[in-house]
Symmetry: C2
Subunit: 336 residues, 2 copies
Amino acid sequence: MAKENETNNEIRRDSEGWITYRPEIKVLDCTIRDGGLMNDHLFDDKVAKAIYQACVDAGVDYMELGYKADKKIFAQNKFGIWKFCTESDIRKVIGDNDTTLKLATMADAEKCNYKNDILPREESVFDLIRVATYIHQIPIALDMIKDATDKGYETSVNLMAISTVPEYELDVAIETLAKSEVGTIYLVDSFGSLYGEQMQYLARKYLKAAKAMGKEVGVHTHNNQELAYSNTITSLIEGVNYLDATIDGMGRGAGNCQLELLLGFLHNPKYRLRPILKCLTDHIRPLKANLNWGFQIPYMLTGLLNQHPRSAMKFLAGDNKDDFLQFYDEITEENS
Amino acid sequence: MAKENETNNEIRRDSEGWITYRPEIKVLDCTIRDGGLMNDHLFDDKVAKAIYQACVDAGVDYMELGYKADKKIFAQNKFGIWKFCTESDIRKVIGDNDTTLKLATMADAEKCNYKNDILPREESVFDLIRVATYIHQIPIALDMIKDATDKGYETSVNLMAISTVPEYELDVAIETLAKSEVGTIYLVDSFGSLYGEQMQYLARKYLKAAKAMGKEVGVHTHNNQELAYSNTITSLIEGVNYLDATIDGMGRGAGNCQLELLLGFLHNPKYRLRPILKCLTDHIRPLKANLNWGFQIPYMLTGLLNQHPRSAMKFLAGDNKDDFLQFYDEITEENS
């Protein structure tokens, strides 16, 4: 696998560049999962079904439908069905998924009753369990990965908030995950704070550890500094094969890598842009008027300062949302 | 000069990365010039003066005030004073510029009566003449460069629309410009169609030709595919030292590299972000409501297809501006 990566880099550094394509690349749409953080997962069935159909028609490889959240932790009357992703709820909306599109759901460490709520794969509409973990939750994440693997699923792991983790700890975390049963380890830019050079450096680090154990690397970016798309391309050039994106960049705060930009870049003929543009026009833009995700100056500032965007989200929901200077002064105030 | 560039690359490829800074880097604000394409150069004096003051306060190196357009070609009653940049008009608004900020104006090949309208530098408020040329106008551009050099100005040249030029012709054009009196040759992504790898390749090409003749390279990007900022960073990492940007990305169509993102990235302590955020909040955002520049799906599509954004601008000014699918179908219609 490492050899394949070297070859790919070699090709791309030569004259072929983006003219050709790498068939190993997989695109994962996470519009409903990451976008659900903006609307408490309250998608109309019609909209959810339209996104699903767009992914099928566009040749997208995986679609993530939401979280497998523990109903003992989260009240069902406060969230949409995409927060819990029960088999029956999902099948009611999108059927049994008799397509080539694989379905994924996210299982958050400490927020998922995985032993009970994740059924064996042969009884499930899902193909891929995506474990999300902070570095201090890795022992739980490892158990979740093993549980999902034993039940027959493909697995991936999102190690979150790495931009605030010391490198010697990150190295141990990546090595530990690489030794687990997980199929794909994701490089995640939770705060949208990473520059291209940092992504390149981290992608090489992740790839080295993952490829040595026969695993893939994925990338999940946020658009706080308007680098989500370019950081995704930077990562794929290095050899990262699993690429997360959302329609219109729908996602928490500044949003994600835009699926339409990504499909415009990818040259595998199986991908088609038109169904995504149709869904964006008909179903996603009408949501944006109220939910208002995407690049904004306050997100740029939290990204720049390597902070969680929650202060920016709070500011943008307030009365002075256009006074960027006030927000700048607030978050750069002296701490002592 | 070439050696300096190699050293820079070496440093950046090591562990220092963005922690340090390269003192040779110069930032050029072109808000009024490129932004003027959105409002026929009709800036209020108050707004123009505020942008000027923000550039001074932010430690920006150059500010481009507009075009030196020929009044025989363009009717004065249809455009603001920033289209013509006469010495008296400029001095009326911003005075004699007794600051460290250098002032620039753009002289468009075939649209500027440069022999008459550009005064000797000692009589001028301007420091830098920026010649803009298409590849077929290079003989005129060379004469304009010589004229401005003889009059005592710093000079730069923007070679436009290179993404539609065959490479063997581009090579000749760059070599020819490198042999001229010009100080800085700009790598310009007119259609916002270039990816990071292409920018890297072109930056290396421009740098090789320019540095051999003791000249600098600049970069001017557009945000059609949301790559203006990342392409600017990619270029500077390669050794490009002159960086164009605009406040809030104000510029034609999808706009430019955002100055606030760029200053956030640059680590030379002479640059300050706060004055730009203040100007953006107080003066630029109020303009955006009407002028509506910035990334939009139709610009993404013209960028993707390596086309001038004029079809997207026309579409976005029409009644169906939100029907991106219709625009996609229009511009991908079969040509025969």
